[in-house]
Subunit: 246 residues, 2 copies
DNA sequence: GCGAGGCTTCGGCCGCGACCGAAGCGGGCG
DNA sequence: CGCCCGCTTCGGTCGCGGCCGAAGCCTCGC
């Protein structure tokens, strides 16, 4: 029965503390370099490299060169679903082991739900809100997949951005200096579709913050979607985002 | 960060081929003895016993004495969800490794969905249908949790069973000989609530088969829920069971 | 009450795999 | 062009944990 071995092989990958630490660190959807992950996992560079190679091999991670760095991220939503499922089993274990704090566990879970709904990824939007915005832009012909992992803003999209108040000029200026890509596809772990990163993504995020449609939760990447923001998403982008579970 | 260790510890449990084999074997919801599981996993008795003890300890399995045997089964739905989630990640790996049979994998998955919907557990109903029936009987005051892991059939339940055609006399006769418990709570892996086992559970299953509401799929524990059966469940038990995914 | 079957505990063996330091590659940046 | 930084490969060490056989415990059945 090959399925038995496949199960144990994948589980064994997540079954090492160093690898588990890396996977958890990548659950936020950011891509990280091998050295970062090594220090997060508390192992040396070579050891981390070996772990990462195994996880790439098994399809748990994907890697992308960026400059002289190699950035690793979760291979897809099924991987993060797996990690969540394992944590769901592991949570009661951790509880019973030390003084039982189901309340805090539930709070953590709620916080996770908030993260999945709306968060920043560096300085741009991610989560369901980020993906919904990107989806809407594509759907309405404002944004198209460009060469490589870039987005191309169409003429129609240019007009749309100016109309709703996105500071396109600043974003373009930043891109022209070469310091930053204008618009990049950034794959989101909790959603299927990529969202909008780069200078344009940051400009969108700035707009939502300036309009007070979303607000930074103190000390984290979570963004609170205000009622006015939910309304605005419907009115401006014609998208609906689900409410947070109670 | 304790959550990291908890994750890796649980994953490591599933990361051993012998333990993974046991977990997969238990995915059908049946409880098995240590010797059975040892031969399934291809290890000796003592080795299996050690594995089982660890999984009990971690809350992945639960054990129940029955005579001089000790029966092991999955601790709950979150455990089977975890295993499914891991397999979802492992499946592509197995595919690319050898000749890729996504069709058969999908067929297996569909078969699993059928198992979750309706199956036999020994000779009684299990799966969503089994649990739905048990839920309805409790909800309507026909069945109550009795002492230990027994169910108690109320007077109202007695009348109800006779009215819909369950062969109560045969079930009671069987129970009176002591050869069999009358009605036992049997925990179902794919559902929360226990379903009805014992002579009464078997009688219910016989009824559904006799009425042609369900039919045995050849060569398996899966039961096909006929359209008439779905209708009957609504009419007789006032429960709704979801359709199979296409 | 005694034997048998099922499960667990104990002790000891062995192999896999995590780990690190040192050395090798390769792409930026000054 | 050459240094530097980030990542990988190589070789060797070591400890954890899986594995089994033998022996012990408990429950059942004759």
């Amino acid at each position: 029965m090959v399925t038995t071995n496949a199960l144990s092989e994948v589980a064994a990958l997540a079954g090492d503390p160093a690898r588990a630490g890396m996977l958890l660190a990548l659950m936020d959807g950011r891509a990280r370099g091998a050295t970062d992950l090594a220090s997060i996992a508390g192992v040396s560079g070579p050891t981390a490299s070996g772990h990462l190679a195994k996880m790439i091999d098994a399809g748990l991670l994907v890697a992308e060169r960026q400059g002289r760095r190699r950035l690793f991220s979760l291979a897809g939503p099924e991987v993060s679903r797996m990690i969540e499922a394992i944590m769901a089993v592991a949570a009661p274990l951790a509880d019973t082991r030390e003084g039982a704090k189901p309340a805090s566990a539930r709070a953590a879970w709620r916080r996770d739900a908030r993260l999945r709904l709306c968060r920043t990824c560096y300085d741009h939007l991610a989560g369901q809100v980020g993906s919904a915005v990107a989806d809407a832009l594509r759907r309405d012909g404002h944004l198209e997949p460009g060469e490589g992992k870039d987005w191309t803003l169409t003429g129609k999209g240019d007009l749309f951005c100016r109309r709703i108040g996105v500071d396109l000029d600043a974003a373009r200026a930043l891109a022209d200096t070469g310091r930053r890509k204008f618009a990049r596809q950034c794959l989101d772990w909790s959603e299927r579709r990529p969202h909008v990163a780069g200078a344009l993504g940051a400009a969108f995020c700035d707009l939502l913050l300036a309009r007070d449609w979303v607000a930074r939760a103190r000390g984290g990447r979570a963004l609170e979607l205000k009622p006015a923001g939910r309304l605005a998403l419907r009115r401006v982008f014609d998208v609906e985002v689900p409410a947070l579970p109670a």
